[in-house]
């Protein structure tokens, strides 16, 4: 069981910028989280001045499934069809460090004790990093909801924040899972059909093309970034082995290999730095891409819903015409048509707003992260340089 307290590191960890909810009356953060066997329990702390809540300051404990439930209810709410619903945070994935730990355990016999402890430390650091990341992603999800004028008032959201018992969200049973899966299939088929629908509005037309294209590219970039980060980590791990062997050699031979001891220390530090570089890169760059990939997916969903509404509207038009021809149920058809039109207009309006703000948000986030990443890289490289320089000096003077 590991638990972390985030307070000091919070600002550093945030890799995606969100409209900070400083000026809203609803402040949410996740100060603490517990990791049990397979589950992570988040402690969600709310500070609010809104009357709709019972207390101004309270905390609850939630699990990942509760987040999923919240997201799904928001998606299913008709009223929010015109809004970009923040993407659900991904499931906490400890698979990779766990697998590595397993492999390490198997290979224990071949390594020296030192090497083993170092590798273990590395893995623990990785585990911790994954943990921090997942907490952060969940936190951002909630914060986006709370800073949005519409979502913050959502009843379900308030329940989520407030209900101090376990939500005991009914896990989706097999049928619902399957239903969800099926719905997704239908949706993607629909998307293809709907992309053929003629778009009247210039703005939306542009957005659609842009988003579709961008989504593909960013997905690709995310995958490549992940691969790059992974190889970087492997590289850092190698330095552990090297430094361990060097230490052994240096221990054996007395003064002749003082230089070896020095370089072994260097290797340790180089390794640490490389590992840091890799993880920073991951945090700033890969996470950025990942997050915006999901966000763009959410934006695409919005477009989809709107296009769906447009299709509905057009269908209702056709139905109205047909009804007029047959002179049957005209009133009903008219009403239906009106509804569809209204819905469509509403969607268009809010959609436009959302997408514009989304664009601005994205650019800001990219900027922030790219700057931070560049600065971190420079910092690490410089400290690496000074370390190496010191060691070279030492060796040459010996």
């Amino acid at each position: 069981m590991t638990s972390i307290s985030q307070d000091g590191d919070r600002d550093k960890l945030r890799s995606v910028s969100v409209d900070l909810n400083n000026d809203t009356p609803l402040l949410i953060d996740i100060p603490d989280a517990l990791c049990e066997r397979d589950k992570v329990k988040f402690t969600i702390h709310t500070k609010t001045t809104l009357n709709s809540f019972q207390k101004p300051d309270f905390s609850v404990s939630r699990q990942h499934e509760d987040f999923i439930w919240l997201h799904d209810t928001l998606v299913e709410t008709e009223d929010y069809a015109g809004l970009i619903i923040p993407p659900v945070p991904p499931k906490p994935d400890f698979e990779s460090p766990r697998e590595k730990m397993h492999k390490l355990g198997e290979g224990e016999a071949t390594m020296t004790k030192e090497e083993y402890t170092k590798m273990k430390q590395e893995l623990e650091a990785e585990y911790l990093a994954v943990f921090k990341k997942t907490v952060q992603v969940h936190e951002i999800f909630l914060q986006r909801l709370s800073s949005h004028p519409a979502f913050s008032k959502d009843r379900n959201f308030q329940i989520f924040l407030e209900y101090d018992q376990d939500l005991s969200v009914r896990r989706k049973n097999a049928k619902e899972m399957f239903g969800g899966f099926f719905k997704n299939m239908v949706k993607s088929a629909d998307e293809v059909l709907i992309s053929g629908v003629k778009e009247v509005d210039e703005f939306f037309e542009q957005e659609k093309t842009f988003l579709l294209d961008y989504f593909g590219k960013i997905k690709d970039a995310t995958a490549k970034a992940e691969k790059m980060t992974r190889s970087h980590k492997n590289l850092a791990d190698d330095y552990i082995h090297i430094s361990a062997t060097l230490t052994t050699i240096a221990a054996d031979d007395n003064e002749a290999f003082k230089s070896k001891a020095c370089i072994s220390n260097v290797c340790v530090c180089v390794q640490k730095l490389e590992a840091r570089v890799a993880s920073d890169q991951e945090l700033k760059l890969t996470e950025l891409f990942r997050y915006y990939m999901r966000d763009i997916q959410a934006a695409k969903d919005l477009l989809y819903r709107r296009a769906r509404a447009l299709a509905d509207y057009e269908n209702s038009n056709k139905a109205l015409d047909k009804a007029r021809l047959k002179s049957k149920d005209v009133g009903q058809a008219e009403e239906h048509q009106q509804q569809c039109l209204q819905k469509f207009d509403k969607l268009s309006e809010s959609g436009k707003k959302e997408l514009t703000s989304f664009k601005a948000r994205r650019v800001v986030a990219f900027r922030k992260n790219l700057i931070e990443m560049a600065e971190l890289e420079i910092k690490h490289a410089k400290s690496n340089m000074s370390l190496l320089h010191a060691c070279i000096e030492q060796l040459q003077s010996n």
Partner: protein
Amino acid sequence: MSVSSLRNPPPFLDGEDQEPEYDTRDLDSDDGEDIFTGRSNKPFTPTPPETDPPTDIFSEEGYTVQTPIKHPSLHTNILEPKFNGIQSDEELDLFAEATVELTLTTPNSQGRKEVCPTGPHFSILNAHSSLRMPDTSNKTMEELEEEEHGDTFELNIAVTNPEKMGDGMNAFMTYKVSTQTSLPAFRSKTFSVRRRFSDFLGLYEKLLVKQSLMGCIIPPPPQKSVVGMTKVKVGKEDPSSADFVEKRRAALERELSRSMNCLDQCIRVCVFCQLPRAVNTQALSGSGFLKMINKASDAVNKMTIKMNESDNWFESKLQEVENEEQLLRRLHASFDSLVNHRKELCSSTAMFAKSVAMLGSSEENSALSRALSQLAEVEDKLEQLQQEQAFSDFFIFTELLADYVRLLGAVRGCFEQRVKAWQRWQEAQSTLQKKREAEAKLLWANKPDKLQQAKDDITEWEAKVGQSERDFERISSTLRKEVHRFEKEKCRDFRHHIVKYLESLHRTQHRLVKCWETFLPEAKAIV
């Protein structure tokens, strides 16, 4: 189909292709005879019948190619800018390291004695040298206290320019061996010949003969690799075969330089470098098989006869050597995986760069788009950096480790030779004993005619016993010196390479900083 265009070593491999500097001790175990006296008096080594005594070869003005060494690294060494105050020392050092020192020590030359941590053994050396050679210029080195002042000669060897000759399965690569020397033994200062890999193997074998008598440590050549060569022969111009050729070239160069240590070896190597055609140095491919058989019989031998070790030093040393070999092997493996991972990082960075570029091109915000394409460029540069770093990882360190693993194997071989010499001695003694017994029996049986024979036998065997004992002693003492020398060199070699490696890391980091610094303003300009 010449591959020569590919393979001049890239400049940053700086001193890599430089022969590491070596101090050579005058391994004067030939009882006062040294090579230069030997030149005028008698053949200096048990030479195989075909090779003429040295005088003839050196006067053979067969051909000498007055090619200045086209060795790019030799030049870039001196000129390449370095960082941060490491500069001035480096220049001097690297240049100094470009030379290999052969010294015949004259006693107390220039008031500077050799400081030998191993004490008594080396003082013998000083006494023996009988020939004075003109003093050539002295170089400053970083470890002055180890330098033998006196007579130093320059001898640089470079192996460059691999070229493919022949066709199909009969094809082979030849390498240009260029020598630059100021040894008076050679008529001209610079010359070069072309040799092929089996020539190197043959040279090694000749030197091995020497080793069995003297106990010198001979650096083994790189492995004969059927797969690699076949690829080259078939003519596939793919990067792996080019890599292989490059590796081999570098390895051959290092090996030749290391062979410079023992003076006697040196001459042979020089002969190797000078003759227009490689005479009698072609190792048959069948000999590899023979060697395997020999090795097997050796192993059996080792197990059966236990040497009565009078000197513990040898035993402990052998143990040390074996341990070290193990560790170096492990280190080599880790470095290998480091190089591989770095190469992986290179390729994934390259792919990432491409995908970021595509992302940038489809980005609608122009500033962000610019920034993203800039990011792509940075990542591209990073990839190059990583590529270079992998290169230097490999050539600076990994190959060094591989070489030393092999060298340690050679050292072990020397120890084994010593044991063999002891065995021979013991055998001679026991044969002598038998002869004596036979003589006694004859005496008792009173057969005067055979007695003379027996007496002759005895004298003969006594002489042999004496000889083999002397051999053994000589090998032991040479071995000691050699091991000391080897260790010193190893220490120096490693330190030198470690420093090089750290410097290359340092350089990479520096360039990394530059890359990111160019990126930063672009990122800040995003609006």
